[in-house]
Structures are given as structure tokens and as C-alpha cells.
Subunit: 159 residues, 2 copies
DNA sequence: CCCAGATCGACAGCTTGGCTGTCGATGACA
DNA sequence: TGTCATCGACAGCCAAGCTGTCGATCTGGG
């Protein structure tokens, strides 16, 4: 079982976990403790237009009830505010706070640093080739956010 | 959120998910329903020497209590048997059944097929380059599950 | 030889992040 | 205006981690 397809899957998973683990640790070191990948995913989705629970659920491919739980977590941490919609009293609109934006920026910076570390290890061309290959394989839809809990749970990180 | 280090993480995760999802579906289609990646991981670890719950926990970097749950799942599905250790009455030794071995073989075959599909999409060289790059980055400790470096970050466990 | 400490597996109970089903309030439209 | 869709909330469930604790069982130093 060297050189097998299973190996390939493990390599990809290992790469993701390496990045996610380090990003979480670094984020915690910079003052954003208890931030999980799901928080980052959700915040990005909200920023890109999913400004209510039902829509967030659709974008993340989770039930709206689960989205509501996620939103509660984001609100507890001060990353979003919930405000009544003036035009539709059923809705509660989501607003990303400055604290949330700062966290996203910090995460982004950390990932860029990690990427640079990898470039120094294997060369910028190798990293670029890795990205290109994966992009071609995945049809460029990397934004899929429906990652199951068993993967997001304890590996922390801000992917 | 384009062209950043976070993208790299998403690509790696997406690649793993693509393989894992398809493998799970294909495994189900071939008669092994309700098999999750964790079952495969655990079975491999057991085969490679982790023949009791505590050791399995250490190899998989999870608490031994969680390992016990995993083992219960494997036993339910008939992939392992639990037998008392003749020389240490505290231990319950794990034995991979023929059914478990067959599932592993089928999984291996499926992964190989998926890898070939990818090779046809982007070329064998690209896949090989991807593997080589990741192997260099991850220190070549991929097929093994006892990789403390990138896995032990915030996992306390009772190891 | 014996007891202290380490280890094994099990139990209870918690946490997170999913799920379904149901509900009342509200909006959209024929 | 009445029907149907949608929104967010509540209750309750599941899966897979976690911790703490326990009794039983090795193991090794004195």
C-alpha cells in the first residue's frame, strides 16, 4: 500500500490538516481563541451575501437550523450582529462586525505566511503546480462549503 | 478569497473530499454500505500493529475511549473480532476478519481507479508531481497514522 | 515478596455540529 | 382575501470527539 490511490487521499488530507492546525494555533496566538474552521467558512458566506439564516444554510449546504446554531456561535464571539430586517419582519439580517472582519484578515494573513513557508520548502513552482492541478481536477469550485462535521471537529483551523 | 493561502487549504480539502466521497459511494455500491473513512483508517492501523484499544487510540491520535467506540463500530460491521489476550488479562486483542480484509481490498481497488481517473484528466505527471510535493512537505509520513507532528496540535488524548 | 504506580477497558456525561419535525408569524400572490 | 411559501425558533435526536473515574490487572523498585 505504498504508491496507491489511498495514499493520494491521505496526502491531500494531511496537507489540509497541516495548514488548518497551524492556522488555528497561530490565530489563537494572535488573540482569536476558540475559532474553528466553521466560523471562518460561515463568515465568508455571510460576507458574500448570505445575510440570513435560511440563506446561509443553503450556501453551506446545511439545514437552516444548523445554520442558526452556527450563527449563535458567531454572535457569541462577537463576529456578527443580528438585526431585524426593516422590510421583512420574518427575517433577521446578519451583519459582520469589525471584529469579524479583523479575524478574517488575520486568518488570511496567516494562510499567506504558511503558503510562503511551503514555497520556501519545495519551491514556488511546485506549490503553483499543486494548485493548478487541483484546480483542474476540481473544476475550480473550491468554494464548496459542505464539509462534514467529522472533518471540521477537532482539527481546528480556519480553512 | 482568491489566490490566497486559504485557497490552497480549500483545494487540498476539496481534493480529499472528492476522493473520499466517491470512494464511500462506490464502496456502498459494491456491497459495503455504511462504511466511513474512519473505518478504513482504523482497520489499517489495527493491521499495522495496533491490536488493542489504547494502542489504536495512540496511533490515531484520539482518546482510547473514542477508539473503543470506533472498535465497537468495526465489530458491529463484522470487520474485527475482539478476543481476550492470553498473556495479559487487561487487554482485548483485535483481529481483522476476512470480511474486513475484503473491504480494505475493495477500497484499495476503488482508490486506485479514482487515481487513474485523475491521471486521465490532468496527466500522470501532474498527479505524480502533486504527490511528490505533498510528500516533501509532510515529511513523507503519510501512510502512517501515528504522525504526532501535524496531528497532535490541540489533541490532548490520554497518550 | 509486596505494594505503588502504570496501564487496560468500561461507564457516565459533556460538547460540537450536523439532522428532522413542528410551530407561529409573516409575506406573496392568484 | 384566502392559500401557500418562507423565516426563525423550539424540541429532540445522532455521531464522534472529549474528560473523569472506576476496578482489574500487570510491573518493577525496595
Amino acid at each position: 500500500m505504498s504508491r496507491s490511490g489511498a495514499d493520494l487521499a491521505l496526502l491531500l488530507l494531511g496537507g489540509f490538516r497541516a495548514l488548518a492546525d497551524r492556522a488555528t494555533a497561530e490565530l489563537a496566538a494572535r488573540g482569536y481563541e476558540d475559532v474553528r474552521p466553521v466560523h471562518d467558512f460561515a463568515l465568508r458566506a455571510i460576507l458574500s451575501g448570505a445575510d440570513n439564516a435560511s440563506e446561509l444554510g443553503r450556501r453551506m449546504s446545511i439545514a437552516k437550523q444548523s445554520a442558526a446554531k452556527t450563527i449563535a456561535g458567531l454572535e457569541e464571539r462577537g463576529f456578527v450582529r443580528r438585526e431585524p430586517d426593516p422590510t421583512d419582519r420574518r427575517r433577521i439580517r446578519l451583519h459582520v462586525t469589525e471584529h469579524g472582519l479583523a479575524m478574517l484578515r488575520e486568518g488570511e494573513a496567516i494562510f499567506d505566511e504558511l503558503r510562503e513557508q511551503w514555497e520556501q520548502q519545495v519551491g514556488a513552482d511546485a506549490i503553483k503546480g499543486l494548485e493548478d492541478t487541483l484546480r483542474r481536477l476540481l473544476g475550480n469550485n473550491t468554494g464548496r462549503l459542505d464539509t462534514p462535521g467529522w472533518l471540521m471537529q477537532d482539527l481546528g483551523g480556519d480553512a
